[in-house]
């Protein structure tokens, strides 16, 4: 029924990712190169040779408490549900974006404006991340592809959809839109439209956590394209110099708009971009939520212990186009057919991976999965209906929320 879990055939998503190789210098967890098999073999060979010396250091980062295998089945089912909810929300968003609102007089109107970037295919990263967060003290900040992170953090599909519709009931009162979803209560620090612009903010959140000694950590997300912004260099260095509990997560979905990673980064192994900052940097399989949880936990522990930041590249795949207008020619053959990579990626669908694993481990049945499917579809349905019925903000509201104070101000 579910596509069976196969050996990974897309090297980008291959489980080699979570084989990490230790650099000989203190605390530096190195990466494996996914497109340089020779290098991987070499690294593994070295690993054996110097295994003795490394054991002490490897122990430094122990496996997190949130290890999937030992988790409560209810928790696992909840994670699966969240991933399925995100998928359903995004696919519905796709429909809502492309189906205009139709008025009795024949007029049509786009329900969702501007750019809209869907998260389908990357769910394991956001949901895995939130699984290791302590929401009382940790923060998450992301780029403009932020629906998944927001829902994973607890935003209701209604608040998200209403924001996409520009309604007063949206999480940002309709002022931010798809790229700028915020929820202070969820410690969802946005939704940021400028590529790389959120990185210094993430460092600042982590700075505040250290300053106030909360023990919290901040997950700072970015895309594979964002690593080429200047803020990347400045933020990594600051976070490591000040030993801040900032966990940088590169969601490497292989492409920035239409530019494949090997055409945007001189070094195709993106974890390497995290070297030079005296910070652990490694690749993980971003399609396997259990791997995400295990690997992110290490970074969380390191952060909580006061040892500073980490740099994790979560390798995954974006099922949809960059935004709604993207014909994805870069994924098609000259004849306009999908390239084999797309089929391969489908086989590594993070939701299917988790479903199959849970079925295998008898933690869920096909019937239960179908029940979840129906339930999240209904939730999203209702969110859309309610958002559609909700009012737009009053026009005068556009002048609110600019400043917190009234002026003249004397304090």
């Amino acid at each position: 029924m579910r596509a069976p879990l196969k050996d990974c055939s897309d090297p980008r998503n291959c489980l080699h990712f979570d084989t990490h190789v230790w650099d000989t210098r203190a605390g530096v967890l190195n990466r494996t190169g996914f497109d340089q098999l020779e290098w991987i073999q070499m690294a593994v060979a070295n690993d054996v040779q110097v295994a003795e010396k490394r054991t002490a250091k490897r122990a430094e980062i122990s496996i997190g408490q949130a290890d999937a295998v030992s988790a409560d089945p209810a928790v696992l089912r909840d994670r699966l549900r969240t991933m399925m909810l995100i998928r359903r929300f995004e696919e519905r968003t796709y429909q809502e974006y492309t189906d205009p609102r139709k008025f009795p007089d024949g007029r049509q109107e786009q329900k969702i404006g501007g750019f809209c970037h869907l998260y389908s295919g990357q769910e394991a990263v956001a949901v895995g991340c939130v699984a290791v967060m302590d929401k009382a003290r940790d923060y998450l900040i992301s780029g403009y592809r932020c629906h998944g992170h927001s829902l994973a953090l607890g935003m209701t599909p209604h608040a998200a959809m209403a924001e996409l519709f520009g309604k007063a009931t949206g999480c940002s009162k309709g002022k931010g839109g798809s790229m700028h979803l915020f929820d202070a209560g969820d410690h969802n620090m946005g939704g940021h439209g400028i590529v790389g612009g959120q990185l210094p903010l993430g460092v600042g959140l982590a700075f505040a956590q250290k300053y106030k000694k909360t023990g919290g950590v901040t997950f700072t997300f970015m895309g594979d394209g964002a690593i080429n912004q200047g803020t990347h260099n400045e933020s990594l260095n600051l976070a490591s110099l000040y030993k801040l509990p900032c966990i940088f997560v590169v969601e490497n979905n292989g492409v920035a708009m239409g530019t494949q990673v090997d055409r945007s980064s001189a070094e195709a192994d993106l974890a390497e971009r995290g070297s030079g900052y005296n910070m652990p940097h490694w690749n993980v399989d971003g399609n396997d939520i259990d791997v995400v949880i295990r690997e992110f936990s290490k970074a969380v522990e390191r952060g909580r212990r006061g040892d500073g930041p980490s740099y994790i590249v979560a390798n995954t795949y974006r099922f949809r186009g960059h935004s709604m207008s993207d014909p994805m020619k870069y994924r098609k053959t000259a004849e306009g057919k999908w390239r084999p990579e797309v089929e391969e990626a489908r086989k590594r669908d993070p939701i299917v991976i988790l479903q199959n694993r849970m079925i295998e481990q008898r933690l869920i049945t096909d019937e239960q999965i179908e029940a979840i499917e129906a339930e999240v579809a209904e939730v999203v349905n209702q969110a859309v209906e309610q958002a559609e019925a909700d009012p737009y903000p009053a026009l005068e509201d556009r002048f609110d929320d600019i400043l917190a104070e009234r002026y003249p101000l004397q304090k």
Partner: protein, 325 residues
């Protein structure tokens, strides 16, 4: 011809004319342009001259300036001028200052182009109107077309120009169609405003996107519904400003309204207002009106965004006000 095609034909002709011209930017090559402006250019000119970049605006803007210092004539496309907030230093301190600081040893024949301003539903980060920021800078030229013919004629002159040009398009303008003179010799002058419509009652100044969106419709409404005969000046170049054409017009009409989509305070219209209020003072029968966007971050929600922008109604009211009607 669509405006995007006019831009493409300007670039194509100039690249054929001069091997030192090349095009660089995010998604300009294999993707055929985020907005399809450069469609087909990779096939035509090859990957040496039509070049995709990583998302590194400061890097490739500066690359353009460096290449221009030694004789290339780069066309650097920004996906949006909003994104140049991350690379302003390269444009201001390098493109605009290197010539001066070297005592005139270098020319900087680089053209920066891309979509400027509000393109609807993109919210505050993606809706910056950057014209006043650049128009303020000595050492830069700022050009903004509003029709396909202007797009082609002005872009060709910009590419041929030996100074750094800030060329401001708008995403929502690209689909607009219009006639473009034939022949690869067609160019338009930088630094010359166009009196689009002669009129005797009031001088209306505008540029770029709002011309088609609201200004031209408002001019028509003013004539038809209010009997006000507007002299409409399309500025085309924001730096250097063609003050002479403007002041001549005000001498005739004794009234002036400026329309743009910038924020008012320290915005483009403020600069224009400053340039003309003194030479026009004795000829003005009313204060200069300046119709601009509300001074708020650009909201995402469609009705709010619409409400913040200059509208036909706002322009009509402002014109009526200076005409004391």
């Amino acid at each position: 011809m669509q405006l995007r095609e006019a831009l493409r034909s300007a670039m194509t002709e100039e690249m054929e004319r001069d091997p030192n011209v090349f095009l660089m930017g995010e998604e300009v090559a294999e993707y055929n342009g985020a907005y399809k402006v450069s469609e087909g250019m990779l096939d035509r000119f090859g990957s040496q001259r039509v070049i995709d970049t990583p998302i590194s605006e400061a890097g490739f803007a500066g690359l353009g300036v460096g290449a221009a210092m030694v004789g290339l004539r780069p066309i650097i496309e920004f996906m949006s001028w909003s994104f140049t907030l991350v690379c302003l230093d390269q444009i201001v301190n390098n493109a605009a200052n290197v010539r001066y600081m070297s005592g005139g040893q270098f020319k900087i024949p680089v053209t920066f182009r891309g979509g400027n301003g509000i393109a609807h539903g993109l919210a505050a980060t993606h809706s910056h109107r950057m014209e006043s920021v650049y128009a303020r800078i000595p050492g830069l030229i700022v050009v903004t077309p509003s029709t396909p013919a202007e797009a082609k004629g002005l872009l060709k002159t910009s590419i041929r120009c030996d100074d750094p040009v800030i060329f401001l398009e708008n995403e929502k303008m690209l689909n607009e169609t219009g006639d473009v003179p034939d022949g690869s010799d067609f160019t338009l002058p930088i630094g010359v405003a166009d009196v689009e419509r002669q009129g005797k009652d009031v001088t209306l100044l505008s540029y770029g996107r709002p011309l088609a969106r609201v200004v031209r419709p408002a001019v028509e409404a003013l004539q038809n519904d209010h009997g006000i005969d507007v002299e409409l000046i399309n500025l085309r170049t924001l730096r250097p400003l063609d003050t002479q054409t403007i002041v001549e017009s005000i001498k005739k009409t004794n009234r002036c309204v400026i329309v743009d989509e910038d924020w008012g305070y320290c915005g483009m219209g403020s600069g224009i207002l400053y340039r003309i209020q003194k030479p026009a003072f004795d000829h003005l029968d009313a204060p200069i009106e300046y119709v601009h966007s509300d001074e708020i971050p650009v909201p995402y929600s469609h009705p709010l965004e619409e409400a913040m922008l200059p509208s036909v109604d706002r322009i009509v009211s402002a014109v009526k006000e200076v005409c004391y009607r």
